[in-house]
């Protein structure tokens, strides 16, 4: 067990597990409470365009994913509010356009995109020191925004129309919340991959939701659940030699189902 920590990549992996869990706990709480799971799924898939752009420009794909996913978040936010087509249609279109852009960028890039699979399904063992620093900075931005603006995020999540009456700049904070979702997506790409991001943004929060009904406590509890089960998943994937992202998702989902059934049986 201890030799397992001696490897630099293993240490990085566990630090990454902690950093992503904080983002997931905090942002996931709002995603679940405001029911913006499908928008968040759309943002994460559209972020693939940014990954493709990174390949094309020869830059770190996670870096290019930042502006790309933030722009996707803004477009999603505007499309779901202002455009006269239904919300889920707008999400579906942006989702596939983002992915298509990514595929085109990668096709235009000479050579074989060997590690593309890692961006789609995640590989926590490829997390570098640079990635960790970036995760830390993004975590800091997310936590600071929520500390400063939790009143607004809670109000718009609870009742948008009434928030307007209270004088909350509803659209501004809705876009800011989606931006935080976009940043969380970027934090998660390397660890679980674009396709599995939404699992980490929802399962810890919805699991914690069963045990508390206060938003601050929910965030802390969801983060702790995330840290424990992401680490457990990581360790298990190491032992079984299977994909880390998928193992983490399976472990989180299993824990959610057990607690859900447990709660139903108890009362």
């Amino acid at each position: 067990m201890l030799e397992f920590f001696e490897y630099q990549f293993m240490q990085n992996a566990f630090i990454a597990a902690t950093l992503i869990s904080i983002a997931c706990g905090v942002v996931g709480t709002y995603i679940v409470a405001k029911r913006i799971v499908s928008i968040s799924g759309g943002i994460s898939h559209a972020a693939f365009g940014g990954v493709g752009l990174g390949y094309f420009l020869g830059l770190n794909p996670v870096i290019t994913a930042i502006p790309f996913s933030v722009i996707a978040a803004f477009l999603m936010g505007i499309a779901t509010k202002k455009v006269k087509i239904s919300e889920d249609t707008a999400i579906g279109i942006l989702w596939s356009v983002g992915m298509s852009l990514g595929i085109i960028f990668i096709s235009l890039t000479p050579g074989y995109a060997a590690d593309l699979f890692n961006y789609l399904f995640g590989n926590i063992l490829t997390v570098t020191r640079t990635d960790l620093w970036m995760m830390l900075i993004l975590d800091f931005i997310i936590v600071a925004s929520v500390i400063l603006f939790n009143r607004e995020f809670t109000a718009i999540s609870f009742d948008e129309e009434f928030s307007k009456v209270l004088g909350v700049p509803v659209n501004l904070f809705y876009l800011l919340l989606l931006t935080l979702v976009a940043l969380s997506v970027v934090i998660l790409i390397k660890v679980v991959g674009i396709i599995l991001v939404i699992a980490l943004l929802t399962i810890p929060a919805v699991t914690a939701r069963q045990f508390t009904s206060r938003i601050p406590r929910l965030m802390v509890l969801a983060s702790i659940i995330g840290i424990i089960f992401t680490s457990a998943g990581l360790w298990l994937s190491y032992i079984l030699d299977v994909s880390s992202g998928a193992t983490i998702v399976m472990i989180l989902a299993t824990f959610f189902i057990i607690t859900y059934i447990g709660k139903e049986l108890v009362g």
Binding site: R35, R151, E161, F162, L166, P169, S213, R214
Partner: protein, 247 residues
Amino acid sequence: MEKAVEIKKLHYKINNKTILEDISLEIYKREFLAIIGPNGGGKTTLLKMIIGLLKPTKGNIKVFGLKPETARKKIGYLPQRRHFDTDFPINVFETVLMGCYHGPLKGYSREDKEKVDKWLERLEIDHLKEERLDNLSGGQLQRVFLARALVREGELLLLDEPTSSVDPLFQEKFYELLDELKHEMAIVMVSHDIGMVAAHVDRIACLNQKLFSHGTPEEALECIEDVYKCPVELIAHGIPHRVLRKH
């Protein structure tokens, strides 16, 4: 008398369908006005215009001499009960506290929290302070939202069908409370409960796309059949009460 709300020649259309037509109405400070009329008659729309959630297609609306959006700090609002997600992770106290919102980066003060406690007590839901919203009955939930409107302690209170889903026992208390509050603020209440309303308000506005009358309850009752376009019987609900005041 000083005016709280001044509506002039207001029209409102959605997709070429006229919802409100040529509405002119003045509401005075410390006046209790009820808006009655059939479903789809534009009652809720008119209320939303007073608080600035909807903009008139034509015409003008002033609240305390200001644009509705600017006057919002002085307005308490109880929206119509619609399908509502009670699954949200929040308790009664925090829900009501939201009504005190001051703006970005401005937290809630101790006075805000004391005000919340005061209104929870006045509405007799202080024992539910820590309760999650999904554990409340329909009537209790309505009181929580009423507290959220009242905690702003504004000069104008807008109530959209406040007595729907409230238990009859509280309904009586609710009207007693409004009788007290009308000395402190103007109250505009949208209601279906014509009988109950008539005994408590100063004026009744009958609205069905156009404003049919906005006089005393006695005058309103005369035009009521025109507004509803069918005979209306005034029925007392549960508790015996006088429909009209003594002359």
